[in-house]
């Protein structure tokens, strides 16, 4: 069973619902080491993306539309990062109305590369890359969706032990220790929705 444009629409609806549900928790996480708005950005971005992907002919168009809608609704750090991620996913999905499920882990790899390209963060700096990068590595190595998700979650959890060297939390120095990076946490939630939809 392929991953179709309808499945893609459903995926973004699920992402929007998940981010709306997690909004306040993500804001609270961001409040500990950042500016307390990450949940708002993710909820707004995914809600705009979910609207944008409806009734488009190809997966590529859908991911591109999602990228643009997310960016314009959000700005912030998450906007350019997820817009770039989604544009890379669009390229990976290509101009087709469906893609084989077995290929879908490549979307994670593409997204991770987009985020790394845009944000220039390396693993270990306490950013969403710390969830996206291990997930991408797992995807590249042919891991299953549950394994990809596991990699993302382990990566997100590990950010609690990292001292931030990028983004708002960098100023905090050692005070950022003990708190998970909100962007890494939301990344693992997003990857969880991908896993549920595509796995």
């Amino acid at each position: 069973m392929d991953f179709t444009t309808q499945n893609c629409t459903d995926l973004f609806a699920a992402l929007a619902a998940r981010m709306a549900a997690e909004r306040d928790a993500l804001c609270a996480l961001d409040g500990l080491i950042g500016d307390a708005d990450h949940g708002i950005a993710m909820a707004q971005g995914m809600s705009a993306a979910a609207l944008a992907v409806e009734n488009l002919a190809t997966l590529q168009d859908q991911f591109n539309a999602a990228a643009k809608a997310f960016l314009n609704a959000v700005g912030a750090s998450s906007g350019p990062l997820y817009a770039t991620a989604l544009m890379r996913a669009a390229k990976a999905a290509g101009p087709r109305a469906a893609m084989p499920r077995a290929e879908t882990p490549s979307l994670i790899t593409a997204m991770a590369e987009g985020i790394a390209h845009r944000g220039k963060a390396a693993p270990g700096q306490k950013t969403m890359i710390d969830a996206w990068h291990p997930a991408s590595e797992a995807a590249k190595s042919g891991a299953s969706w549950p394994e990809i998700l596991q990699a993302a979650q382990t990566g997100a959890d590990a950010t609690a032990q990292m001292q931030a060297s990028l983004g708002r939390a960098a100023t905090l120095g050692a005070r950022s220790l003990g708190h998970k990076d909100p962007g890494a946490v939301s990344a693992s939630m997003i990857i969880a929705e991908f896993a549920r939809a595509l796995g």
Binding site: A36, L81, G119, L166, T171
Partner: protein, 332 residues
């Protein structure tokens, strides 16, 4: 925890509703070029470098209050505490540029850097020359000047760049003066309370009574450390020690001063701080060229204050004194 008390309608629409109010209140100063792209009614003109500023909302009068003749030509308005996306930056620039290039200025935050860089790329694709100067005046935010955040010092730095552009200087010169102004501007802040986002109406951090955050930014990010709330003079002394050490200005030099409220700290307290700032500058043998005291760069309802000192030379003094007429700020 009960939601914080705000006079708003819907937390998701505060920025657009604010913008509607700003445009209604300042019809002689401001217009909308495109959604979230505010431009000056007078100021932009052929041959003039366009200065476009922007950043997240919640810092009013920063940024959109500084749009007007003699200062910024346009402003991109982001969500609360969130960089604007590239589009309104591009829209404001295209609506105001006079063929002499565009200078984009904003505070140094990861999100703003990514969004404004994308905007600059889009402008280049439209054959509009776009340069970028980041403000990095918050000395508490990093030992490395290039990694520092831009905070209340924006007022002076944007003002200098805006004056240079208004004097019809070429893009190279406007950029040079903007960088020079940024390099000579030093800010440090403390917070006495948290603030809350309109969508969540939850305090963004816990600050026990009797404590303060030292080295506070303007987004409710925690500061560099937490300490007991001290008397105003001691708080000023700690900030001024750091600023004076960074600035390393020789006795006899001249400075501009901004004592800024982060939101709910009233003028009474700001002037108490100012009195000590003036004493410290006098002790250091520095002359005060001009001063601003008030809420210039805020974090919504956060309590706290920042001190900015700009180390002037004749050029910067001239730029600060140059007239400007903005919706929420006037000089001359």
């Amino acid at each position: 925890m009960a939601p914080t008390q705000k006079l708003i309608n819907d937390g998701n629409h505060t920025v657009d509703e604010m913008l509607a109010g700003v445009l209604a209140a300042h019809p002689n100063h401001l217009a909308l070029a495109a959604p979230r792209a505010v431009i000056a009614k007078s100021g932009p003109r052929p041959g003039k470098v366009a200065l476009i500023i922007g950043g997240g909302s919640g810092h009013e009068p920063t940024f959109l209050g500084f749009v007007g003749k003699g200062l910024a030509d346009g402003c991109a308005v982001g969500n609360v505490f969130a960089s604007p996306p590239p589009q309104p930056v591009v829209d404001a620039a295209l609506a105001t540029h006079g063929g002499a290039g565009v200078l984009l200025m904003y505070g140094n935050y990861a999100g703003d850097v990514m969004n404004f860089d994308m905007a600059a790329e889009l402008l280049q694709m439209d054959n509009v020359e776009a340069r970028t100067v980041l403000t990095t005046d918050d000395i508490a935010s990093s030992p490395n000047p290039a990694k520092r955040r831009g905070v209340a010092g924006n007022v002076f730095i944007f003002k200098a760049a805006g004056a240079a552009a208004d004097l019809m200087l070429p893009l190279d010169e406007v950029e040079r003066i903007a960088r020079h102004a940024n390099a000579r501007t030093y800010t440090m802040g403390v917070a006495l309370s948290a603030c809350s986002l309109p969508q969540t109406r939850r305090l963004n951090f816990d600050l026990p009574a009797g404590e303060m955050e030292i080295g506070m930014g303007i987004h409710g990010e925690p500061g560099i450390r937490r300490g007991p709330l001290k008397p105003a003079d001691a708080v000023v002394d700690e900030m001024m020690d750091a600023i004076l050490a960074e600035m390393a200005a020789p006795a006899g030099a001249s400075v501009a001063v901004l004592v800024n409220s982060l939101g709910s700290t009233p003028l009474m307290e700001l002037y108490i701080l100012y009195a000590r700032v003036a004493e410290r500058l006098k002790l250091a043998g520095l002359g005060i060229h001009s001063s601003l005291v008030g809420p210039y760069c805020t974090s919504m309802e956060m309590a706290g204050a920042s001190i900015t000192v700009m180390h002037l030379d004749d050029e910067l003094a001239k730029m600060l004194d140059h007239p400007c007429d903005c919706a929420m700020f006037r000089v001359g």
